[in-house]
Amino acid sequence: MNGTRRWADHVRIILICWRATVAAEFQYQANFLAGLTLSIFWMVWAAAGLAVYFQFTGDLLGWTYPELLVVTGLFFTVNGIRQAVLQPNLQQITEYVRLGTLDFLLTKPADTQLLVTLRRLNVGNLLDPGLGLIFIVVGFVLSDAPVGWNLLTFLLLFATSLLALYALMVLLMAMAVHLIGGTELQQIAYGAVELARFPVQLYRDPFQAVLTVVPVVLLTTLPAEALLGRLSPYWLVAGPAITAVSLVVSRLAWLRVLRAYSGASA
């Protein structure tokens, strides 16, 4: 009796182990497939979520469904880059400060800002920008927007958007060195990008005004308007200008923090 019981246990355990091995085989593939599935899922989820509003209306303050798809696509692109670039490097910098790696980086002949902001890359999250592009294209095609100069202005405003995100990142990095508090800063980045899920007009005043001053509008609203051919001349100039200023301001903040840091550890 005891012998058969042990034998059955034995067999069962081996089966568990074999199953475990097969499952473990898929681990790396599993991570990749899971990431891809989830990315596609979130895009479908966003598209479906938008559709709920459109049960009751044909457009939201002048934004039709395909046009909102463009915004959603841009959101995924910006969010994907946030996860691929901003998140890992921001996470690292608190480590650098704690372990003293920042000192080491400061001695390198390359610009520390570049080193620190672009050192790490979560390649897996680069799927999202790719998928986002699909939405942008589909939305654009379905929206009957003209094809002409707007493509160029789109590229300009898209670049502006990415640079604005970069400026935000540098600012957060500077805060991280100064405050040494990583998680909260990640939340700021996350929240700022989440706000860009919808075009700012949908929030209406007073929120719309706030989000235009705090340049969330740069991230998705302006590039979308550019692509759809309805970007006002004001924003065509103001957008890139604000971004340029942000880049300068954040760089200055970074340099200031570095100077304080080096002084502090001397």
């Binding site: 475990a20 599993a30 991570n31 899971a34 990431g35 899922f41 709920v52 009751f56 949908l202």
Partner: protein, 266 residues
């Protein structure tokens, strides 16, 4: 039995103390309360442009989403992340060595954090109801009691559901991704994307039978006075049913799960 309760209380207290140790993190967590309000803002735009969808006016949406923001903090999903982290890092063994079932250890850990968050968010909520005229809940004593019970049930279902998915961590490394998929799908049925009344009829009917509504939509609908006595009873019955089912499933899956962990090693 009494010892288990005492152990849970002790663990909860420790978790709550840990949560209060990091004010920055608390603040960041509190800031995420605005996410439901983003969705609300778009609904308010729908109301402003094409009239109340299915009779839901602006104050209706505001009351709904304000309550939803509170319930947003009552999700049990931290269990998934903590469990996953422990199994990957090998700290799960420590949980197994304690003479308290890991379910209670993780639940207590989550509860501690929740209590702290609610401790901060609830007063703000109450103050808002007193100050803002749009937030009219018109709670009778009976409805208040029912709401409290519904909120407790919401947390219980959320925790058991999350713990059940966390168990899959014995076999899969993808539990966090699985959970996000589950949550994403559930967000349509829970009343998160939109109040269920505003969703297409087929979705509303299906959602009434699913556990997701129990975790958010049901208590909020109860609180905003939209449910008849019969509908309330039905909601409780569905919620309790799911709680029972998840509990049974957990007990069934636990034994082979922990056996597998013991076979394969931490």
């Amino acid at each position: 039995m009494a010892e288990t309760v005492a152990s849970i209380a002790a663990l909860t207290r420790a978790a709550a103390t840990t949560a209060t140790a990091y004010r920055g993190r608390l603040l960041a967590g509190l800031l995420t309360t605005f996410f439901p309000l983003l969705l609300m803002a778009v609904w308010l735009t729908v109301v402003a442009t094409s009239g109340p969808p299915r009779g839901w006016t602006a104050p209706d949406f505001i009351s709904y989403y304000a309550a939803a923001s509170l319930l947003w903090h009552l999700s049990g999903q931290n269990v998934i992340w903590q469990w996953d982290e422990d199994i990957r890092g090998g700290d799960f063994s420590i949980r197994l060595l304690r003479p308290v079932h890991p379910f209670w250890q993780y639940a207590a850990n989550d509860l501690g954090q929740r209590l702290v968050m609610l401790g901060l968010a609830a007063p703000v909520f109450v103050a808002a109801t007193l100050v803002l005229p749009q937030l009219g809940y018109h709670l009778t004593a009976v409805r208040l009691l029912a709401t409290v019970v519904a909120v407790l049930l919401a947390y219980a279902v959320s925790i058991t559901m999350a713990s059940l998915v966390a168990l899959l961590g014995f076999w899969s490394t993808q539990t966090t991704n699985l959970w996000m998929l589950w949550w994403g799908l559930g967000s349509f049925a829970s009343g998160w994307i939109a109040p269920l009344e505003v969703m297409p009829g087929w979705l509303r009917s299906t959602a009434e039978w699913l556990p997701f509504r129990t975790t958010m939509g049901f208590p909020v609908e109860l609180m905003t006075g939209r449910l008849s006595a019969a509908e309330t009873a039905f909601g409780f019955a569905v919620g309790l049913g799911w709680l029972a089912l998840f509990t049974v499933l957990y007990l069934v899956v636990w034994k082979p799960g922990v056996r597998r962990h013991q076979a394969v090693g931490g």
